[in-house]
């Protein structure tokens, strides 16, 4: 059994595991490497600024310029690239070879894998990155000369890592990006490093992500030992060239998707690893918008989409993905309903929306997931950025009970209306981008056959209603109603207007407002790709985004793709033969009405409780808390279902105790008893023999001569009588 699986395969089919000629190794596109290098350049410039103690906004302009360059190049790359995919080698990294044949070499290099999926991602990552960096140039003003350069350096690191993650041509470089974004996230969450909460949140984010990274690392190992390669193109060649199900029933094929899933859940904050994301809101708001809403957290979706063929090999894994996504969506939405910190509400909403995306992946609509990623990136960025603007202007105030009627205040109108756009999209208001992308997922839950997928669909619809409710709860509370506000406990100490009496909120200026408008428009325009026609394949639906998914590894999850085009997934395919119906209609059509209706109900409920009769919301809470049988519900929702406490009790505390036990064991058992105890044995023996050391010359002589005598005598006897076989 020293022959690897791959060998078996090759002998069976006779195909060498070389890169397929389908994917072009494109050396003429090497300039695409500049997309990656520009953020690094920006990092370098920011570092120089920090070292030279630049007091101006220079670091911000450097970053914005570099990221804009990356964005332009990404678009150029999109224009220039040729489907189905291209590999652009950049720099060697790890290459080992110790023989011929499979599993006798390992290589992972810095190389780019350009296909439509990665292009989709890099375009919105660099685009939003540029805008948010520009936004931050104003937002971070109070820190000018202090942490300003450090902040933009962090943003640059993040962009580099994210682009490396998305563009990587192999799983190891993906891992580099994967951990890199985790590190950038650590850097930026812990930006206000003197605040213990920020430091703790940063640490938590990194560590929880590391749990996911463990899954990714093990998945990489397993993929390499199973398929003999970690490069996508080779991997896909191997996967496409054989009929896997017949040959492999081993656990590896089943284990790989679950390990990848662990990684994705960690990065994309899904159950049970979502706890870090709400805490990550301790970072500056642009960071929350960029990393913890729009881009980084979608890396998990990207990973699953990128390795989708591996998931298709094990249908159960997709079922798990769907259920975890659905349950996370519901759970996070319920928590979001009960929070008062608007940024946290947005954070839970992000978790919830990510849950939708995973649900989409699980119910075989990578298109829906990708589309939702795309739209969510815009509308959630808008929402976070408006939150940031509010926070910036109201001295860190984020409590929705202490802010009201912003839309009537001078200078806050743009903020209010862009926030409304974001809320509408998030709530799935008909004809907004969120409406279409969410529907694509919800409908597929009813279409695809799987264990309890129908229940999952209803859960998702319920969640959509909850989403609409909590979204508009925020908007109605903060932007509508009578004008009133209280300042928060200031983060930026240099205002000098601490007294509540003479506090004047300072409204956002050009940089923030322009970015808000641009992204809000983007959020609205994000609906249009749905209506575009499909260039890649006339049979599929879904417009431009579907095109972007079509030429990638995730194409199996496209709507309308002919059955023959995803041959490996008989067991997990859409139920093409008998389409289930919803209310007697095609689920896709039915969903337009159902989700629209549910969204409207949510909005109306929010309007009643938080705009028209604000008192009734408190009354409802009081009523719920007063009833013993239901009081746990609001409490649990406000306490985030006690998940943090659960982690503390089940993981952190036991490990901490174990650490102390180990340390005690180390000190008292291993070191004190075994090591020092052993070392004491000679001393004990010496104590026993001490009387020999009387100090009298003759007793010393007796021992010495006697000892030597006995040794010599034994030696002589040995020699004389040939004992021990030693001959004289």
């Amino acid at each position: 059994m020293t022959v690897s699986m791959l060998n078996i395969l090759q002998s069976a089919v006779g195909v060498p595991a070389v890169p397929m000629d389908q994917v072009v190794v494109a050396t003429d596109l090497r300039w695409a490497g500049i997309i990656l290098l520009l953020p690094l350049l920006s990092l370098l410039l920011c570092g120089l600024c920090a070292a030279m103690r630049v007091k101006s906004k220079l670091p911000a302009w450097c970053t914005v310029a570099c990221l804009a360059g990356s964005f332009v190049l990404s678009v150029l790359l999109y224009v220039n690239y040729n489907p189905p995919g291209e590999v652009i080698p950049l720099l060697s990294w790890m290459n080992l070879s110790w023989g011929d044949g499979a599993l006798n070499s390992f290589s992972a290099n810095f190389a780019l894998y350009i296909d439509s999926l990665s292009l989709l991602w890099i375009m919105f990552v660099t685009g939003l990155g540029t805008l948010i960096a520009y936004y931050a140039s104003e937002y971070m003003e109070p820190d000018l000369g202090k942490g300003y350069a450090r902040f933009f350096a962090g943003v640059s690191v993040f962009l580099f890592a994210m682009l490396a993650l998305v563009l990587s041509d192999n799983l190891v470089m993906l891992y580099l990006g994967w951990e890199g974004v985790g590190f950038a996230s650590y850097w930026l969450i812990g930006y206000y490093y003197t605040r213990p909460a920020a430091v703790a949140a940063a640490k938590k984010a990194f560590i929880v992500n590391r749990i996911g990274d463990l899954g990714l690392a093990l998945a990489v190992y397993l993929i390499w030992t199973t398929f003999g390669t970690v490069q996508y193109d080779e991997l896909m060649t191997v996967l496409e060239s054989h009929s896997w199900r017949a040959e492999f029933e081993g656990w590896t094929i089943s284990a790989i998707p679950f390990l990848l899933m662990l990684a994705a859940f960690g990065k994309s904050a899904q159950l049970p690893l979502y706890v870090w994301l709400p805490d990550a809101m301790e970072g500056p708001t642009p960071v929350s918008a960029l990393i913890h809403a729009a881009t980084m957290v979608t890396a998990g979706i990207y990973l699953v989409a990128r390795t989708y063929p591996l998931f298709l090999l094990e249908p159960v894994s997709l079922h798990v993905v769907a259920w975890v996504g659905g349950l996370t969506a519901l759970l996070a939405a319920t928590i979001g309903m009960a929070q008062y910190d608007i940024k946290r509400i947005m954070a839970y909403s992000t978790v919830s929306q990510l849950g939708y995306m995973f649900l989409g992946l699980g119910v075989l609509t990578t298109y829906g997931a990708a589309y939702h990623v795309f739209t969510h990136a815009f509308f959630k960025a808008v929402l976070f950025l408006t939150c940031g603007a509010i926070m910036h202007g109201f001295a860190g105030q984020l409590d929705l009970r202490k802010l009201s009627g912003l839309r009537h205040m001078k200078g806050w109108r743009i903020t209010s209306w862009t926030m409304l756009i974001g809320c509408l999209c998030l709530a799935g208001f008909p004809l907004t981008s969120g409406y279409f992308s969410k529907d694509a997922i919800l409908a597929e839950a009813f279409v695809t056959q799987g264990p309890g997928f129908e229940i999952l669909g209803w859960i998702a619809i319920l969640t959509a209603g909850l989403t609409a409710y909590y979204t508009f709860r925020v908007w109605f509370r903060v932007c509508a109603g009578p004008v009133s506000y209280e300042p928060g406990d200031e983060l930026h100490d240099d205002h000098g207007d601490h007294g509540h009496g003479d506090f004047h909120p300072h409204a956002p200026r050009f940089a923030i407002n322009s970015v808000l408008v641009v992204i809000a428009v983007g959020a609205l325009v994000a609906a249009t790709p749905y209506f575009m026609s499909n260039k890649a394949d006339a049979n599929i639906a879904g417009g431009w985004v579907a095109d972007m998914v079509h030429d990638s590894t995730a194409r199996a999850g496209l709507p309308g793709l002919a059955e023959s085009q995803h041959p490996h997934s008989e067991e997990v395919s859409h139920g093409a033969h008998e389409h289930p119906t919803l209310f007697g209609m095609d689920p896709h059509k039915a969903m337009y009405f159902v989700s629209g209706a549910v969204g409207l109900i949510g909005i109306l409920l929010a309007a009643y409780l938080h705009l028209w009769k604000r008192k009734s919301a408190d009354a409802l809470r009081g009523w719920l808390l007063a009833r013993g049988w239901i009081a746990w519900l609001p409490r649990a929702m406000e306490r985030k279902w006690y998940v943090d406490e659960l982690y503390h009790a089940l993981v952190r505390a036991p490990l901490w105790i174990l650490g102390h036990i180990c340390y005690a064991f180390d000190r008292f058992i291993i070191d004190a008893v075994i090591v020092d105890g052993t070392a004491r044995v000679p001393r004990l023996i010496a104590r026993w023999l001490q009387p020999l050391q009387s100090g009298a010359v003759q007793s010393h002589a007796v021992v010495m001569i006697g000892g030597v005598g006995i040794i010599v005598l034994l030696l002589a006897l040995c020699l004389r009588f040939e004992w021990l076989g030693v001959v004289l």
Binding site: T2, W93, L103, Y175, G190, Y193, T194, Y221, E249, T252
Partner: protein
């Protein structure tokens, strides 16, 4: 003769230091170690064994011909790399203790130079006795460095360090002598040449003999590495040692153990290694997790980093026991990387200690606002240590783990470990992030906490001065270069690793399989 120069030049420097006035000693030490580094560079450029299994720097002096002892030196690529690491760390160690040592400076720098000589000797020796003499001789300077220049409990720490490691190495000597004796009784004349001994032992020893020889070698090397459960001297020695002592202890001395495994145990007794690899691997994994958990509850920063060495070296041993090129590449890289990143961490802690005279995380914290440059370096090296991709720690850790994971599947090599070993070891990655980031969170971030009464930095500025930056910068550059371009080092080592593993392809019996993938696949 370049090799002899590398060994003797530090020794000569030590003599000059002892003969010259105390105020010049650090200067002389600096010049001497820089000259050694220069010679090492020249030797490395001149060396033609990169990538091949060839030996360079060869030279031999007949010493006791009737006993087969020739003072023979030489280096293959792995020895060369570790020698370069030593040569690189020495000037940094001298520069790092520029102001830290005020009393008895002559002896201090003299002992440092003697230590450098002994360490270089270990890596360059091709004669067993020379190897062993140098191996043991490292203890003496280290003993004095700890005993004279250490902290409060230095006497106990130095004695424990000395006796513990010495006892282990004596057992290793027994194993070595047994092999030499077998060789002598086999071919009729004594020889202590390492290639001869290795070549003989591979085939000349019976299985049970191999097991005993492995046990003896492990007794010596496991203590040095240190492998769980014989690691308890390390935290003590580290916490008590002066900064440069800790740096060299972590940077080079621990590698003597893994280098010993690589150079002797693996090629000498392949059958026994294959038989006992799972047991040793379990010890390594226990060490990884156990060390990491202990790190978690430490309050002394230096002790934390010391225990992290226990954890990290576990990966290194695991990589060796993977018995395939991936694991070995990872392991040797790990030796170098750990030397760079952990060495730098000890430097950083030393710099903090020099300013605040405490290493207690409960007393000190939030230094980022007071010492931004120091904090940048601290975070950087912690990340290198955690294994952030793009920095050096990742490459080696990744290769060690994938080697372990794939052991048994890598075609020609009889790996006896498998996915489960790698999976458990990989948990160490999470724990490493936990304890190191907790440490960073306390010491670097948070609000500033300084021990009461210590504010007078009359000699040193609040943040790092240029000298200290010069100490750290080469290590940082090394971390980045080895993180992004490890390829050239890995290719350089290929020949040597193939030679070390030369016996293993023959040891792939039908009955022996990885406990993982293959065992389950129908």
């Amino acid at each position: 003769m370049l090799g002899w120069l590398l060994i003797l030049l530090p020794l000569l420097t030590a003599v000059i230091i002892m003969a010259s006035p105390a105020r010049f000693s650090r200067l002389v030490a600096m010049l001497g170690s820089l000259a050694t580094l220069g010679i090492a560079m020249v030797a490395a450029i001149d060396f033609d064994g990169w990538g091949t299994g060839r030996w360079g720097l060869e030279s031999s002096i007949t010493f006791l011909p009737e006993l087969g002892v020739t003072l023979e030196i030489g280096a293959d690529s792995v020895s060369m790399l570790l020698m370069l690491l030593t040569a690189l760390l020495m000037p940094l160690a001298v520069l790092g203790s520029w102001t830290a040592v005020v009393d008895r400076t002559r002896e201090y720098f003299g002992w440092l130079m003697v230590l450098a000589s002994a360490m270089t000797g270990v890596f360059l020796a091709r004669d067993l006795l020379l190897f062993y003499i140098c191996f043991e001789f490292t203890l003496i300077p280290m003993f004095f460095l700890i005993a004279i220049y250490g902290s409060t409990n230095r006497a106990f720490a130095s004695v424990k360090f000395f006796i513990y490691t010495f006892l282990g190495s004596l057992l290793a000597l027994v194993g070595f002598l047994y092999v030499a004796w077998s060789l002598a009784s086999h071919q009729g004349e004594w020889s202590f040449s390492i290639p001869d001994l290795v070549h003989f032992a591979q085939t000349g020893l019976t299985s049970s003999e191999q097991v005993w020889v492995l046990a003896a070698l492990m007794a010596g090397f496991a203590v040095k590495i240190p492998l769980f459960p014989v690691h308890t001297w390390l935290p003590l020695a580290h916490t008590e040692a002066p900064t440069a002592g800790s740096v060299l202890l972590a940077g080079v001395l621990l590698k003597l153990g893994t280098y010993g495994l690589y150079r002797f145990a693996l090629p000498m007794v392949p059958e026994a290694v294959v038989e006992f690899a799972p047991v040793l691997a379990i010890l390594a994994i226990v060490g990884i997790l156990y060390g990491a958990l202990i790190c978690w509850v430490q309050t002394d920063v230096k002790k934390l980093v010391a225990y992290s060495s226990v954890s990290h070296l576990g990966f290194c041993v695991l990589g060796l026991l993977a018995l395939n090129p991936l694991g070995l590449q990872g392991s040797v890289l790990y030796m170098i990387n750990h030397g760079l990143s952990t060495g730098a961490l000890f430097f950083l802690i030393g710099m903090m200690y020099e300013r605040y005279h405490t290493r207690d995380m409960n007393v000190i914290g939030g230094l980022a606002s007071k010492m931004p440059i120091w904090s940048c370096f601290m975070v950087f090296f912690v990340l290198a240590s955690v294994g952030l991709p793009g920095l050096n720690g990742f490459v080696s850790e990744f290769l060690c783990l994938i080697g372990t994971f794939a052991a048994g599947d890598t075609g020609a090599y009889p790996g006896v470990l498998g996915p489960w070993f790698a999976a458990f070891a990989a948990i160490g990655m999470i724990l490493a992030a936990m304890y190191l980031l907790i440490m960073v969170g306390k010491v670097v971030f948070g609000s500033l906490r300084e021990p009461a009464g210590v504010h007078a930095h009359d000699v040193l500025p609040a943040d790092l001065n240029a000298r200290e930056i010069v100490v750290l910068a080469p290590l940082a550059i090394g971390c980045v270069v080895l993180g992004i371009q490890p390829d050239f080092v890995m290719h350089a080592m290929e020949g040597s690793i193939a030679e070390t593993l030369a016996m293993y392809p023959d040891l792939v019996p039908e009955s022996m399989h990885a406990m993982g993938i293959k065992g389950v696949t129908p």
